[in-house]
């Protein structure tokens, strides 16, 4: 069985940052795996500029952050296995990897690292309405990958459900990619994301229906594909108001209803999870070092609560530094000083109308650690 000092699962912003910091911190033997054919997670589909302050890479596009990180990882000589899924985690930190081979086949490889960092990211929520399984209904993130990474239009006429920043940004990018966005639909009384994104869409003449939801999607298109979308107004108790239906001709419905953490590997290790609404459900509680209740297993990024790329990146750094420190490669004082800086930056990222809730959620999640860890 292969032995290594550190295994990082997931090469998105959190996993890449973790691997880079661990390597810089002195870890010699490190393996980074990702189940996709390219590393970088969702960074490469984020062609828009990030917002926030300068310290948080505002004005820089996700795709450029991804490129920078990959270059850094390459310079440091980090070993990345792509097309590789971690399909099992067993006692004594034995990981079962399904390693992609150059010919497209896969091979099972067992690895026993001394430390593990789980940065498996998040996954899109679905919404149920009549016809939600009709071909042409997809996640907004999936549609974003199609246009920005694969350069394929998901359809011609699109209805977007959800007006958080993902819903707004992806709607605009779909328009840039040559699709017609017919309407945006939002159940809440007001738009969820930043006004600056919403006005871009309104200026282009696309209607945004707040206090509305999708009642039904009809699949009379080619091969049963989406043909029509019926939306309906909601009352104060979120009940549909009969007689307020509007029908749009469309071939695609994109769902921007938030994400949930991918928690299969953390569950396999009996890591203690805590329910946290704002973070998307059950998430592992952790220390200031990002260590879970399972000693030597660290968590970072959306796995520990859905936030955004910058927080994932900083959490990844914390985990990487902590792993290097616990492996004996970094002096405690040096590691702690770096971690203090990162926590300061994280506090900055969790500010403002969108960040405050996440600051509270993170505090609750971490406050639960001592009690949960005692069992």
């Amino acid at each position: 069985m292969l032995k290594t000092e550190l295994l990082v699962v997931g090469a998105g912003p959190a996993g890449l940052a973790a691997a880079i910091e661990a390597k810089k911190g002195g870890v010699k033997d490190l393996l980074l795996v990702d189940l996709n054919m390219r590393p970088g997670g969702q960074l490469f589909k984020q062609i828009h500029k990030f917002f926030g302050s300068k310290a948080h890479r505002a004005g820089i596009r996700g795709i450029d952050i991804g490129t920078q990180m990959l270059e850094e990882a390459k310079e440091l000589g980090i070993d990345i296995w792509l097309n590789t899924a971690c399909v099992g985690l067993f006692d004594d930190k034995i990981a079962c990897l399904e390693k992609g081979q150059p010919d497209g086949s896969t091979k099972i490889v067992y690895v026993q690292p001394e430390k593990i960092i789980l940065a498996t990211g998040g996954q899109e929520n679905v919404v149920r309405f009549k016809g939600w399984t009709t071909p042409g209904v997809m996640g907004a993130g999936a549609a974003q990958t199609m246009i920005n990474v694969n350069r394929v239009q998901p359809g011609q006429k699109i209805v977007m459900l959800g007006t958080g920043n993902v819903g707004l940004i992806v709607s605009y990018q779909l328009m840039q990619a040559g699709c017609e966005v017919v309407a945006l639909v939002e159940a809440a009384p007001k738009i969820g994301g930043y006004g600056v994104h919403a006005s871009k869409i309104s200026r282009a003449g696309v209607p945004i229906f707040t206090k509305h939801t999708i009642k039904e999607v009809k699949g009379n298109g080619p091969n049963g594909r989406v043909s029509e979308v019926v939306i309906v107004e909601l009352d104060e108790k979120w009940n549909p108001i009969e007689g307020t239906e509007k029908t749009f001709e469309a071939d695609t419905v994109t769902l921007a209803a938030g994400l949930k953490p991918v928690s299969d590997l953390v569950k396999l290790q009996d890591i203690e999870l805590v329910f946290n609404g704002p973070f998307g459900g059950w998430v592992p509680t952790h220390t200031r070092d990002m260590e879970s209740t399972c000693p030597g297993i660290y968590v970072a990024g959306d796995t520990t609560g859905v936030e955004e790329a910058n927080t994932a990146l900083e959490e990844g750094r914390l985990a990487g530094i902590s792993a290097a420190q616990s492996l004996g490669y970094m002096k405690d004082a040096d590691a702690e000083a770096l971690k203090d800086e990162i926590w300061d930056r994280l506090a900055g990222l969790r500010m403002g109308p969108f960040g405050e809730k996440r600051a509270v959620a993170k505090k609750e999640l971490m406050d639960a650690f001592p009690e949960v860890a005692r069992g």
Partner: protein, 92 residues
């Protein structure tokens, strides 16, 4: 929230409907794992990645409990589908 139609699909991998999940709850299921054991919802190719939250919402609605009281899906290796061939050739 409007009541969902019984014939609406919830777990598309195992083709489990809202009605079947309601029936499981009526039989005594009170969490995601209980529904899974009775209906196979969440036991297909995606292992509940898509339907877990939908099942949680239905339990929450039917029993009038909060989302944190509906539990979450249990997990077993392999967490993603792998072929018997790959598994058999694996060296420990």
């Amino acid at each position: 929230m409007a009541r969902l139609d019984d014939d609406m699909l919830v777990c598309r991998c195992e083709e489990v409907t809202v009605g079947e999940i309601r029936e499981a709850i009526a039989q005594g299921a009170f969490d995601v794992v209980g529904v899974k054991r009775r209906t196979r919802a969440g036991m297909g190719l995606c292992q509940g990645r898509t339907c877990e939250k939908l099942v949680q919402q239905i339990i929450s609605q039917e029993l009038g409990v909060g989302p944190h009281e509906t539990g979450s899906s249990s997990v077993r290796p392999p967490v993603r589908p792998i072929s018997y061939g790959a598994l058999a050739e694996g060296e420990f």
